[in-house]
Protein backbone atom coordinates (compact mmCIF):
# COMPACT_ATOMS: atom_id res chain seq x y z
CA UNK A 1 0.00 0.00 0.00
CA UNK A 2 1.46 3.37 -1.01
CA UNK A 3 0.81 6.70 0.69
CA UNK A 4 0.80 8.64 -2.56
CA UNK A 5 -1.78 6.45 -4.24
CA UNK A 6 -4.96 8.38 -5.02
CA UNK A 7 -7.19 5.48 -4.17
CA UNK A 8 -6.57 3.95 -0.78
CA UNK A 9 -6.80 0.18 -0.77
CA UNK A 10 -8.73 -1.26 2.09
CA UNK A 11 -8.13 -4.83 3.24
CA UNK A 12 -11.41 -6.40 4.25
CA UNK A 13 -10.84 -9.22 6.74
CA UNK A 14 -13.18 -12.17 6.61
CA UNK A 15 -13.74 -14.14 9.82
CA UNK A 16 -14.62 -17.81 10.16
CA UNK A 17 -18.00 -18.65 8.59
CA UNK A 18 -18.24 -15.11 7.27
CA UNK A 19 -18.11 -13.36 3.92
CA UNK A 20 -18.09 -9.97 2.22
CA UNK A 21 -18.20 -8.27 -1.18
CA UNK A 22 -15.94 -5.33 -2.09
CA UNK A 23 -15.22 -3.26 -5.19
CA UNK A 24 -11.92 -2.12 -6.72
CA UNK A 25 -9.30 -1.49 -5.42
CA UNK A 26 -10.09 -3.17 -2.11
CA UNK A 27 -8.58 -6.46 -1.04
CA UNK A 28 -10.14 -9.43 0.69
CA UNK A 29 -8.25 -11.46 3.27
CA UNK A 30 -8.90 -14.46 5.46
CA UNK A 31 -6.38 -16.00 7.86
CA UNK A 32 -5.53 -19.45 9.12
CA UNK A 33 -7.54 -21.69 6.80
CA UNK A 34 -7.10 -25.30 7.88
CA UNK A 35 -9.86 -27.64 6.79
CA UNK A 36 -11.88 -24.53 5.97
CA UNK A 37 -12.02 -23.27 2.38
CA UNK A 38 -11.59 -19.67 1.26
CA UNK A 39 -13.62 -19.09 -1.88
CA UNK A 40 -13.29 -15.97 -4.02
CA UNK A 41 -15.85 -15.01 -6.64
CA UNK A 42 -15.29 -11.98 -8.85
CA UNK A 43 -16.82 -10.16 -11.78
CA UNK A 44 -14.37 -9.95 -14.71
CA UNK A 45 -16.03 -6.78 -16.03
CA UNK A 46 -16.66 -4.66 -12.94
CA UNK A 47 -14.02 -6.05 -10.56
CA UNK A 48 -16.66 -6.56 -7.90
CA UNK A 49 -15.20 -9.30 -5.67
CA UNK A 50 -16.48 -11.45 -2.85
CA UNK A 51 -14.96 -13.93 -0.43
CA UNK A 52 -16.36 -16.51 1.98
CA UNK A 53 -14.63 -18.57 4.71
CA UNK A 54 -16.46 -21.90 4.53
CA UNK A 55 -16.31 -24.37 7.44
CA UNK A 56 -18.49 -27.33 6.47
CA UNK A 57 -19.58 -29.01 3.22
CA UNK A 58 -23.38 -29.02 3.40
CA UNK A 59 -26.03 -27.01 5.18
CA UNK A 60 -28.21 -29.06 7.54
CA UNK A 61 -31.66 -30.22 6.44
CA UNK A 62 -33.36 -27.72 8.77
CA UNK A 63 -31.22 -24.87 7.41
CA UNK A 64 -34.13 -22.77 6.16
CA UNK A 65 -35.81 -22.99 9.55
CA UNK A 66 -32.61 -22.18 11.42
CA UNK A 67 -31.89 -19.26 9.08
CA UNK A 68 -35.23 -17.79 10.14
CA UNK A 69 -35.02 -18.66 13.85
CA UNK A 70 -31.41 -18.29 14.98
CA UNK A 71 -29.89 -16.48 12.02
CA UNK A 72 -27.36 -19.21 11.15
CA UNK A 73 -24.91 -17.88 8.57
CA UNK A 74 -25.21 -19.17 4.98
CA UNK A 75 -21.47 -18.41 4.59
CA UNK A 76 -20.65 -21.31 6.92
CA UNK A 77 -21.60 -24.14 4.53
CA UNK A 78 -20.11 -24.66 1.06
CA UNK A 79 -23.43 -25.16 -0.74
CA UNK A 80 -25.27 -22.21 0.82
CA UNK A 81 -22.13 -20.00 0.76
CA UNK A 82 -21.81 -20.28 -3.04
CA UNK A 83 -25.48 -19.30 -3.48
CA UNK A 84 -25.08 -16.45 -0.95
CA UNK A 85 -22.01 -15.08 -2.76
CA UNK A 86 -23.74 -15.26 -6.16
CA UNK A 87 -26.79 -13.41 -4.87
CA UNK A 88 -24.67 -10.74 -3.10
CA UNK A 89 -22.79 -10.10 -6.35
CA UNK A 90 -26.02 -10.09 -8.38
CA UNK A 91 -27.58 -7.63 -5.94
CA UNK A 92 -24.72 -5.26 -6.70
CA UNK A 93 -25.13 -5.58 -10.44
CA UNK A 94 -23.13 -8.64 -11.54
CA UNK A 95 -24.43 -11.23 -13.94
CA UNK A 96 -23.56 -14.89 -13.54
CA UNK A 97 -21.82 -15.20 -16.92
CA UNK A 98 -19.21 -12.62 -15.84
CA UNK A 99 -18.37 -14.41 -12.60
CA UNK A 100 -15.21 -16.47 -12.05
CA UNK A 101 -14.00 -18.30 -8.94
CA UNK A 102 -10.75 -19.19 -7.20
CA UNK A 103 -10.29 -21.10 -3.99
CA UNK A 104 -7.74 -22.28 -1.45
CA UNK A 105 -7.80 -24.36 1.72
CA UNK A 106 -9.33 -27.72 2.54
CA UNK A 107 -6.22 -29.15 4.19
CA UNK A 108 -6.09 -32.07 6.55
CA UNK A 109 -4.17 -30.59 9.47
CA UNK A 110 -3.75 -33.77 11.49
CA UNK A 111 -2.85 -36.39 8.90
CA UNK A 112 -2.10 -39.03 11.50
CA UNK A 113 -5.64 -38.77 12.87
CA UNK A 114 -7.18 -39.30 9.44
CA UNK A 115 -9.25 -42.33 10.37
CA UNK A 116 -12.09 -40.08 11.50
CA UNK A 117 -14.51 -38.80 8.88
CA UNK A 118 -14.78 -35.55 10.82
CA UNK A 119 -11.10 -34.87 10.24
CA UNK A 120 -11.45 -35.53 6.50
CA UNK A 121 -13.71 -32.50 6.26
CA UNK A 122 -11.15 -30.48 4.24
CA UNK A 123 -11.41 -32.55 1.03
CA UNK A 124 -15.19 -32.76 1.51
CA UNK A 125 -15.39 -28.95 1.71
CA UNK A 126 -13.43 -28.66 -1.55
CA UNK A 127 -15.71 -31.14 -3.34
CA UNK A 128 -18.83 -29.38 -2.08
CA UNK A 129 -17.62 -25.97 -3.30
CA UNK A 130 -16.76 -27.42 -6.73
CA UNK A 131 -20.17 -29.10 -7.00
CA UNK A 132 -21.98 -25.89 -6.05
CA UNK A 133 -19.95 -23.83 -8.54
CA UNK A 134 -20.70 -26.32 -11.32
CA UNK A 135 -24.38 -26.08 -10.36
CA UNK A 136 -24.25 -22.31 -10.93
CA UNK A 137 -22.09 -22.66 -14.10
CA UNK A 138 -19.33 -20.52 -12.60
CA UNK A 139 -15.84 -21.45 -13.87
CA UNK A 140 -13.23 -22.26 -11.21
CA UNK A 141 -10.06 -20.74 -12.70
CA UNK A 142 -7.53 -21.63 -10.01
CA UNK A 143 -7.27 -23.56 -6.79
CA UNK A 144 -4.70 -24.49 -4.18
CA UNK A 145 -6.35 -27.12 -2.02
CA UNK A 146 -5.65 -30.17 0.12
CA UNK A 147 -2.31 -31.06 1.67
CA UNK A 148 -1.56 -30.77 5.36
CA UNK A 149 -0.70 -27.07 5.65
CA UNK A 150 -2.74 -24.10 6.78
CA UNK A 151 -3.16 -21.12 4.47
CA UNK A 152 -3.74 -17.38 4.70
CA UNK A 153 -5.14 -15.88 1.51
CA UNK A 154 -5.54 -12.38 0.12
CA UNK A 155 -7.36 -11.43 -3.06
CA UNK A 156 -6.48 -8.32 -5.05
CA UNK A 157 -9.59 -7.04 -6.81
CA UNK A 158 -7.40 -4.99 -9.22
CA UNK A 159 -5.27 -7.85 -10.57
CA UNK A 160 -7.77 -10.58 -9.68
CA UNK A 161 -4.89 -12.62 -8.29
CA UNK A 162 -5.18 -14.67 -5.14
CA UNK A 163 -2.10 -14.69 -2.91
CA UNK A 164 -1.68 -17.85 -0.84
CA UNK A 165 0.69 -17.92 2.15
CA UNK A 166 1.60 -21.06 4.07
CA UNK A 167 3.71 -21.40 7.20
CA UNK A 168 6.34 -23.64 5.57
CA UNK A 169 6.05 -23.36 1.77
CA UNK A 170 6.08 -19.56 1.48
CA UNK A 171 3.82 -17.29 -0.55
CA UNK A 172 2.67 -17.62 -4.16
CA UNK A 173 -0.21 -16.34 -6.29
CA UNK A 174 -2.82 -18.22 -8.29
Amino acid sequence: MSDYSEQVEVVCRIGIADGAVVSRPDRLRTSGLGSCVGLVMYDVLTGLSGMVHVMLPTAPADFAERLRVDGVKPQKYADSAVLWLVSELQNRGSTIRNLRAKMAGGAQMFASAGRSDVLRVGPRNVEAVETALTGCSIPLLAKDVGGTEGRTIEFDSQTQLLSVRTAKSGTFTI
Binding site: S31, L33, G34, C36, P60, M109, F110, V118, G150, T152
Partner: protein
Protein backbone atom coordinates in the same frame (compact mmCIF):
# COMPACT_ATOMS: atom_id res chain seq x y z
CA UNK B 1 -30.15 -24.57 30.31
CA UNK B 2 -30.91 -23.14 26.88
CA UNK B 3 -28.88 -24.30 23.92
CA UNK B 4 -25.43 -22.80 24.08
CA UNK B 5 -26.24 -20.54 27.02
CA UNK B 6 -24.02 -20.62 30.09
CA UNK B 7 -25.13 -19.12 33.38
CA UNK B 8 -22.51 -17.58 35.67
CA UNK B 9 -22.82 -20.64 37.93
CA UNK B 10 -22.08 -22.91 34.96
CA UNK B 11 -19.09 -20.76 34.03
CA UNK B 12 -17.78 -21.04 37.61
CA UNK B 13 -18.19 -24.81 37.58
CA UNK B 14 -16.55 -25.31 34.19
CA UNK B 15 -13.69 -23.07 35.33
CA UNK B 16 -13.25 -25.25 38.38
CA UNK B 17 -13.24 -28.34 36.14
CA UNK B 18 -10.50 -26.65 34.14
CA UNK B 19 -8.54 -25.80 37.30
CA UNK B 20 -8.69 -29.36 38.63
CA UNK B 21 -7.85 -30.92 35.26
CA UNK B 22 -5.04 -28.48 34.61
CA UNK B 23 -3.58 -28.83 38.11
CA UNK B 24 -3.12 -32.54 37.51
CA UNK B 25 -1.76 -31.87 34.03
CA UNK B 26 0.73 -29.34 35.43
CA UNK B 27 1.93 -31.86 38.02
CA UNK B 28 2.44 -34.41 35.25
CA UNK B 29 4.34 -31.86 33.16
CA UNK B 30 6.58 -30.74 36.01
CA UNK B 31 7.47 -34.38 36.75
CA UNK B 32 8.26 -34.93 33.09
CA UNK B 33 10.46 -31.85 32.88
CA UNK B 34 11.91 -31.96 36.39
CA UNK B 35 11.11 -28.27 36.79
CA UNK B 36 8.21 -26.48 38.47
CA UNK B 37 5.30 -25.63 36.18
CA UNK B 38 2.73 -22.97 37.02
CA UNK B 39 -0.78 -22.75 35.72
CA UNK B 40 -3.03 -19.73 35.77
CA UNK B 41 -6.66 -19.90 36.81
CA UNK B 42 -8.69 -21.39 34.02
CA UNK B 43 -11.33 -19.42 32.25
CA UNK B 44 -14.49 -20.92 30.82
CA UNK B 45 -16.63 -19.03 28.36
CA UNK B 46 -18.76 -19.28 25.33
CA UNK B 47 -17.02 -17.57 22.43
CA UNK B 48 -17.21 -17.17 18.68
CA UNK B 49 -14.89 -19.28 16.50
CA UNK B 50 -12.77 -16.21 15.69
CA UNK B 51 -12.26 -15.55 19.41
CA UNK B 52 -10.90 -19.08 19.94
CA UNK B 53 -7.94 -18.43 17.63
CA UNK B 54 -7.42 -14.94 19.13
CA UNK B 55 -6.81 -16.62 22.51
CA UNK B 56 -4.03 -18.64 20.84
CA UNK B 57 -2.34 -15.47 19.51
CA UNK B 58 -4.31 -14.79 16.31
CA UNK B 59 -5.17 -16.99 13.30
CA UNK B 60 -1.84 -16.30 11.53
CA UNK B 61 0.40 -17.08 14.50
CA UNK B 62 2.77 -20.03 13.97
CA UNK B 63 2.20 -22.46 16.83
CA UNK B 64 2.69 -26.08 17.82
CA UNK B 65 -0.57 -27.89 18.50
CA UNK B 66 -1.25 -31.33 19.94
CA UNK B 67 -4.78 -32.53 19.30
CA UNK B 68 -6.46 -35.21 21.42
CA UNK B 69 -10.04 -36.32 20.89
CA UNK B 70 -12.03 -37.32 23.99
CA UNK B 71 -14.80 -39.89 23.69
CA UNK B 72 -16.99 -41.81 26.14
CA UNK B 73 -19.84 -40.47 28.31
CA UNK B 74 -18.85 -37.02 27.15
CA UNK B 75 -17.05 -36.01 23.96
CA UNK B 76 -14.78 -33.11 23.21
CA UNK B 77 -11.43 -31.97 21.91
CA UNK B 78 -8.33 -31.19 23.92
CA UNK B 79 -5.58 -29.06 22.47
CA UNK B 80 -2.16 -28.29 23.89
CA UNK B 81 -0.97 -25.14 22.14
CA UNK B 82 2.41 -23.50 22.53
CA UNK B 83 4.80 -21.22 20.70
CA UNK B 84 7.58 -22.81 18.62
CA UNK B 85 10.11 -21.40 21.12
CA UNK B 86 8.32 -23.16 23.98
CA UNK B 87 8.17 -26.42 22.05
CA UNK B 88 11.92 -26.14 21.37
CA UNK B 89 12.65 -25.70 25.09
CA UNK B 90 10.38 -28.63 25.88
CA UNK B 91 12.18 -30.85 23.37
CA UNK B 92 15.61 -29.78 24.60
CA UNK B 93 14.59 -30.71 28.14
CA UNK B 94 13.08 -34.04 27.09
CA UNK B 95 15.49 -35.22 24.41
CA UNK B 96 18.62 -33.29 25.40
CA UNK B 97 19.26 -32.22 21.83
CA UNK B 98 19.66 -28.61 20.73
CA UNK B 99 16.74 -27.58 18.55
CA UNK B 100 16.73 -24.36 16.58
CA UNK B 101 13.78 -24.39 14.20
CA UNK B 102 10.18 -25.53 14.12
CA UNK B 103 11.07 -28.15 11.51
CA UNK B 104 10.78 -31.26 13.63
CA UNK B 105 11.71 -34.85 12.79
CA UNK B 106 9.47 -37.82 13.60
CA UNK B 107 11.13 -38.41 16.96
CA UNK B 108 10.57 -34.81 18.02
CA UNK B 109 6.96 -34.77 16.79
CA UNK B 110 6.36 -38.00 18.65
CA UNK B 111 7.83 -36.51 21.85
CA UNK B 112 5.54 -33.47 21.54
CA UNK B 113 2.59 -35.78 20.96
CA UNK B 114 3.52 -37.72 24.07
CA UNK B 115 3.54 -34.52 26.14
CA UNK B 116 0.02 -33.80 24.89
CA UNK B 117 -0.94 -37.37 25.67
CA UNK B 118 0.36 -37.20 29.25
CA UNK B 119 -1.21 -33.81 29.94
CA UNK B 120 -4.49 -34.88 28.34
CA UNK B 121 -4.51 -38.11 30.33
CA UNK B 122 -3.91 -36.29 33.62
CA UNK B 123 -6.59 -33.76 32.75
CA UNK B 124 -9.28 -36.26 31.74
CA UNK B 125 -8.59 -38.69 34.57
CA UNK B 126 -8.98 -35.82 37.06
CA UNK B 127 -12.34 -34.92 35.54
CA UNK B 128 -13.39 -38.58 35.33
CA UNK B 129 -12.59 -39.08 39.03
CA UNK B 130 -14.55 -35.96 39.94
CA UNK B 131 -17.62 -36.79 37.87
CA UNK B 132 -17.62 -40.61 37.55
CA UNK B 133 -17.93 -40.05 33.80
CA UNK B 134 -16.16 -42.56 31.58
CA UNK B 135 -13.72 -40.85 29.23
CA UNK B 136 -11.08 -42.15 26.88
CA UNK B 137 -8.71 -40.31 24.61
CA UNK B 138 -7.41 -40.77 21.08
CA UNK B 139 -3.80 -41.10 19.99
CA UNK B 140 -2.39 -37.54 19.93
CA UNK B 141 -1.89 -35.76 16.60
CA UNK B 142 0.71 -33.00 16.23
CA UNK B 143 0.83 -30.05 13.83
CA UNK B 144 3.12 -27.04 13.51
CA UNK B 145 1.16 -24.41 11.65
CA UNK B 146 -1.04 -21.32 11.82
CA UNK B 147 -3.21 -21.19 14.95
CA UNK B 148 -6.40 -20.69 12.97
CA UNK B 149 -5.70 -23.74 10.81
CA UNK B 150 -4.91 -25.96 13.82
CA UNK B 151 -8.02 -24.79 15.67
CA UNK B 152 -10.26 -25.71 12.72
CA UNK B 153 -9.96 -29.30 13.91
CA UNK B 154 -10.78 -28.30 17.48
CA UNK B 155 -14.01 -26.47 16.67
CA UNK B 156 -15.23 -28.77 13.91
CA UNK B 157 -17.55 -30.95 16.00
CA UNK B 158 -19.04 -27.82 17.58
CA UNK B 159 -19.50 -26.05 14.27
CA UNK B 160 -21.89 -28.74 13.01
CA UNK B 161 -24.55 -27.55 15.45
CA UNK B 162 -23.54 -24.16 16.82
CA UNK B 163 -21.87 -20.86 15.95
CA UNK B 164 -20.22 -20.70 19.37
CA UNK B 165 -17.78 -22.91 21.22
CA UNK B 166 -17.51 -23.48 24.96
CA UNK B 167 -13.82 -22.97 25.66
CA UNK B 168 -12.12 -23.96 28.92
CA UNK B 169 -8.67 -22.37 28.68
CA UNK B 170 -5.73 -22.68 31.06
CA UNK B 171 -2.39 -20.93 30.63
CA UNK B 172 0.66 -23.05 31.43
CA UNK B 173 4.04 -21.54 32.39
CA UNK B 174 7.22 -23.47 33.01
CA UNK B 175 8.99 -21.93 36.02
CA UNK B 176 12.65 -21.57 35.09
CA UNK B 177 12.40 -22.72 31.49
CA UNK B 178 10.14 -20.05 29.94
CA UNK B 179 7.66 -22.51 28.53
CA UNK B 180 4.29 -20.93 28.00
CA UNK B 181 1.26 -22.36 26.37
CA UNK B 182 -2.44 -22.99 26.54
CA UNK B 183 -4.44 -26.06 27.33
CA UNK B 184 -7.89 -25.99 25.72
CA UNK B 185 -10.83 -28.24 26.45
CA UNK B 186 -13.66 -27.81 23.96
CA UNK B 187 -16.57 -30.00 25.01
CA UNK B 188 -18.92 -31.05 22.21
CA UNK B 189 -22.17 -29.03 22.38
CA UNK B 190 -24.08 -32.22 23.25
CA UNK B 191 -21.66 -32.86 26.14
CA UNK B 192 -21.82 -29.55 28.00
CA UNK B 193 -25.13 -30.43 29.69
CA UNK B 194 -24.08 -34.02 30.69
CA UNK B 195 -20.82 -32.60 32.07
CA UNK B 196 -22.69 -30.04 34.19
CA UNK B 197 -25.22 -32.74 35.21
CA UNK B 198 -22.44 -35.02 36.38
CA UNK B 199 -21.14 -32.16 38.51
CA UNK B 200 -24.52 -31.84 40.20
CA UNK B 201 -25.91 -28.83 38.34
Amino acid sequence: MGEGELSSLHVDILQEVGNIGAAHAATALSELLGTPVRISVSSARRCTFDEVSEVAGGPDELIVGVFVRVTGDIGGNMLLLMSVDSANILLQTLLGSKIVSGDYDDMQLSALGEVGNILGGAYTSAIATLTSLRMSQSVPAVAVDMAGAILDAGILATSEVSDFAVLIDTSIMGGASNIDGHFFLLPDPSSTVPLLDALGC
